[in-house]
């Protein structure tokens, strides 16, 4: 690891001030992505601003419009939350499919979406459920948040504070995980709300994306059969030692059907 100065602010304002005052400061959430990449010297920073001692950044709130999840809420808390299980069981299933217990005990929703790993699960949850990301400056719609490989719409020093999820009529999560790392080879979140369908795919491209042809077919007929014959082109899909592009394209179809079946399951 390259050297850095460590900060442990007790308030969001203090965290912002320390980030602003540093040459190349970075927030630290669960550390499950940042610490391994710093260990490999794939990333470095002048100042590490730990968000773990700030009150009020973690928590799950049910309100009339939906569910608000604080940025520092751990994956394990979302997986176990009675509110999430009741309102959006697919989101609890997503959280419970991330990594392993030890990773879920530390990793946070804010860290996951800010890191924007191409194989991360939460980005599909945000986009597939049409959530919005609240920062210390503004609210960003899911469709505008993920912009590229490890890239988001966040500005320098902008901090994610919470994520707002509307409650859909139905939603389903299906993941084909890598056996060793547990990251998604391909995973799909689908939701149905007020006649509108959102279907988001992670693991297959540089960043999470929607599939309009599948959404249109599902809006007309929300069933796995409606997806029969709709193929996703393999051009531009990721290729690595786990799966080539053609296999990933095939998996998108399979996971999309499984997600719809999960959404329809009683």
């Amino acid at each position: 690891m390259y050297p850095f100065t460590y900060h442990r602010p007790a308030s969001l304002d203090d965290a912002r001030a320390r980030l602003a005052a540093s040459e190349d400061g970075r927030p630290l959430a669960g550390g499950m992505s940042l610490i391994p990449t710093m260990r490999f010297r794939l990333s470095s920073c002048s100042d590490l601003v730990d968000l773990n001692a700030i009150d009020g950044l973690a928590g799950i709130e049910r309100h009339e419009g939906g569910i608000r999840i604080g940025a520092m809420t751990r994956h394990a808390a979302v997986e176990a939350s009675a509110e999430v299980r009741e309102a959006i069981p697919a989101l609890a299933a997503l959280a419970g499919s991330i990594g392993d217990v030890q990773v879920r005990n530390r990793g946070t929703i804010g860290g996951s979406i800010c890191f924007a790993d191409p194989a991360a699960d939460y980005p599909a949850g945000i986009l597939g459920l049409g959530a919005s990301v609240n920062t210390d400056r503004r609210s960003i719609a899911a469709d505008d948040f993920f912009t590229g490989l490890y890239e988001t719409a966040l500005e320098d020093g902008e901090l994610v504070v919470s994520v707002d999820f509307p409650v859909p009529e139905r939603a389903g999560w299906a993941k084909f995980g890598n056996q060793a790392s547990r990251f998604a080879v391909v995973a799909v979140m689908v939701s149905l709300a007020g006649g509108a369908v959102r279907l988001a795919v992670t693991g297959a491209k540089s960043h999470v994306f929607r599939v309009p042809e599948m959404e249109a077919a599902l809006a007309a007929d929300f069933s796995a059969e409606a997806l029969e014959g709709i193929a996703v082109a393999s051009e531009g899909l990721n290729e690595d030692l786990h799966a080539d592009a053609a296999y990933r394209a095939h998996l998108v179809g399979v996971m999309a059907k499984r997600a719809v079946r999960a959404a329809l399951a009683p």
Partner: protein, 157 residues
């Protein structure tokens, strides 16, 4: 780079130390506190050999900085029992042949206790799913699963 000081509880005892902020918890435990029961089995935070309990929950000590743990409560394998007085989960591993080379075992025992703390009588499927973050290169897992089931029975009984 400024050194930082940290005060935490390790195995029931308060420890104050000065650390380089880059020090991982696992290196702090092994090299500064000489608690070498916690192992390092990988550099990708995947193997679970470094599993300890932080405020009562299983975490990977290779993915945490020691400096983060101001006021925290950490338990390592040394804190649960030793040769003279073994924890029921340790005894269960011994009696069920739950280890071969033993490298993964400290992490497996810490994870086993964590599983038993959250599930009164975990079935095989639950134990296998809970063990996703702990790798073993020797046993094929069968006897580890048996050990944890037996240890959990002992702990709840």
């Amino acid at each position: 780079m400024a050194e930082a000081s940290v005060t935490l509880t390790v195995n029931g005892r308060e420890v104050s130390a000065t650390v380089d902020p880059r020090t991982l918890l696992v290196h702090f435990l092994r090299e500064q506190l000489q608690l070498t029961g916690t192992h390092v089995g990988c550099d990708t935070s995947q193997c679970g050999a470094c599993t300890v309990h932080l405020d009562g929950r299983a975490v990977k000590s290779c993915a945490l900085l020691a400096v983060q743990l101001e006021g925290a409560d950490v338990t390592t394998i040394e804190g649960v029992g030793g040769p003279d007085e073994m924890h029921p989960m340790q005894t269960a591993f011994k009696e069920n042949h739950g280890l071969q080379c033993g490298f993964c075992t400290p992490g497996m025992v810490m994870k086993g206790i964590d599983i038993a703390n959250r599930h009164a009588a975990p079935d095989e499927a639950t134990i296998r799913r809970e063990l996703e973050g702990n790798l073993c290169r020797c046993t094929g897992y069968h006897n580890i699963v048996e050990s944890i089931a037996a240890g959990a029975r002992e702990m709840s009984g």
